[in-house]
């Protein structure tokens, strides 16, 4: 931010929001990466940690909400300041959802623990999660710089995750068809894959919010999508 407010306390409040969002982002990122690691390595202790970390994230979201409301009431923000604060609220809620998705993935670790995850599927999930986490990490970096162009670039990258998710979906179906005993594990893994794919969507939401915060305009055009899993298997038979 090039200029500062005449009232320095106002700046402090905005900085507080910005700092808390970054902290939330860091924690959400960590939770998701831990959840996938716990899944792949059948590490229930790590899964447990992810589950308990979610409380911190929920708490942070509420604190950001409270602070934003107080700031709006006291400062009557306009223009960039107003968009900044409304943006913080939206991003905080996206990050809170990301945490929930990580937590849900972690919960499934316990369910699939007995059977173990086939190596090939584990690699697929890891790859999907790498893509989603890079997306999340990048969008958090863009948040720090408030660059509209970079936000737009991230928004158009969600396609890759969608494509990867569709291919994983197909693979899981194949496993289930091969041997019905795989169904329990594969269904859980399918939910995990969906969770991870949703993380990418939230990262995209955040990118759109940053774009709006910076420019005051909504990003143009539909976001690119390559998720065809919703029609997968529909035509066969």
């Amino acid at each position: 931010m090039a200029s500062t407010h005449i009232l320095s306390a106002y700046d402090d409040e905005l900085k507080y929001l910005s700092r808390r969002i970054s902290e939330m982002g860091g924690l959400a990122e960590q939770m998701c990466s831990d959840a996938v690691r716990a899944l792949v390595n059948a590490d229930s202790a790590l899964a447990q940690k992810v589950i308990s970390d979610d409380v911190i994230l929920d708490h942070a979201e509420r604190e950001i909400g409270d602070k934003a409301i107080v700031t709006i009431a006291r400062r009557q923000p306009v223009a960039t300041d107003l968009r900044e604060i409304v943006g913080s609220l939206r991003i905080a809620s996206d990050l809170e959802r990301v945490g929930d998705l990580g937590k849900n993935t972690a919960k499934r670790v316990i369910a699939v623990q007995g059977t173990g995850v086939p190596r090939k599927l584990a690699r697929g999930l890891e790859h999907l999660s790498d893509l989603a986490l890079v997306q999340l990490k990048d969008v958090l970096d863009v948040y720090a710089t408030r660059s509209a162009e970079k936000a737009e670039a991230i928004r158009s990258r969600d396609e890759e995750i969608d494509a990867m998710y569709t291919s994983l979906f197909r693979e899981l179906l194949t496993y289930m068809m091969e041997d019905p005993r795989n169904i329990t594990t594969c269904t859980h893994l399918l939910f995990c894959a969906k969770n991870i794919e949703r993380i990418g969507d939230h990262a995209t939401n955040i990118a759109e919010t940053i774009y709006y915060m910076t420019t005051g305009a909504q990003p143009e055009g539909d976001r690119p999508k390559d998720d065809s899993s919703n029609t997968l298997g529909a035509i066969t038979e």
């Binding site: 005449i6 009232l7 306009v78 223009a79 305009a217």
Partner: protein
């Protein structure tokens, strides 16, 4: 389709208003106080039935511009106005213009409530009387009541019309001054920080009044309170160092202004 929401109706009205002609047009308006130039070629058009707010830091020229609109600057020695200002099609700086008549068409409400030290009734009836707007007592009574109604003051003062106007509270005095301005049926009402001496409740009443008056009058208001500009106006003009920086829809002005100086000013920032 015919179930238009209130907001949609308001928007359609605004749209319609933006299509109609400008009530006042200021073209290349410059003002000099002696050697000192206070306004630099301001081009600002005032839309009919619209509240236009003039904002900007102290000394930016917003009050100076406001006062050119009914030639209040004429009373200041050494003050010279160049450029052209029209009311409908009349050039208000034309030599043939009757300034008294101009000020009846373009009324003014000042920062400090300034009722005459006379009764409430006489405060209102003075203008209509000198302009010959009432034929008889009944006519005048009617004008006084209608003006006080318009200013939202009637129910508060109807039983004490013959008490002194200066005995009212500050907020009531200001609404009395608005009623007085309205009494001569002006087309445009200029307001120079009409609420800066009022408490929040009285301010809210005056703002509500401004909102209602918009249906019948064109209003130009100078205000130091950005929030007031945001609350009452449809158009906002930002002045800085004697220049008009930006004039825009108020909605746009307070969410995403075009000019960096506007942005810095309304957000309480400095560059």
């Amino acid at each position: 389709m015919n179930m238009m929401s209130e907001a949609a109706v308001e928007k359609a009205l605004d749209q319609k208003m933006s299509e109609v002609s400008y009530k006042m047009i200021g073209k290349d308006v410059s003002v000099y106080y002696g050697e000192k130039r206070a306004l630099f070629d301001v081009n600002l058009n005032v839309r009919e039935n619209t509240v236009t707010a003039l904002i900007g830091p102290s000394g930016c020229g917003k009050s100076t511009f406001l006062r050119t609109l009914n030639r209040m600057n004429d009373t200041i020695e050494n003050c010279r106005v160049t450029g052209k200002i029209t009311l409908d099609t009349d050039d208000i700086y034309d030599a043939n213009i009757d300034v008294v008549e101009l000020r009846a068409r373009v009324g003014m409400v000042f920062q400090k409530p300034n009722p005459f030290p006379k009764s409430i009734y006489e405060n209102i009836s003075y203008g209509p009387r000198i302009h010959g707007l009432a034929r008889n007592k009944a006519d005048m009574d009617q004008i006084v009541e209608a003006s006080l109604q318009r200013a939202g003051l009637w129910t508060e003062v109807k039983d004490r019309l013959h008490e002194s106007g200066t005995g009212l509270s500050g907020g009531q005095q200001q609404r009395l001054c608005i009623a007085r301005a309205v009494a001569v049926s002006p087309e445009v009402i200029l307001m120079d920080e009409p609420c800066s001496a009022l408490d929040p409740i009285a301010t809210a009443k005056v703002e509500e009044l401004i909102h209602e008056l918009r249906a019948n009058y064109t209003i130009v208001i100078v205000t130091h309170s950005m929030q007031q500009a945001a609350r009452v106006s449809q158009r906002t003009a930002m002045f800085h160092l004697g220049n008009l920086v930006e004039e825009n829809d108020t909605d746009k002005m307070f969410t995403n202004p075009d000019d960096q100086r506007t942005q810095d000013y309304i957000m309480g920032r400095f560059g």
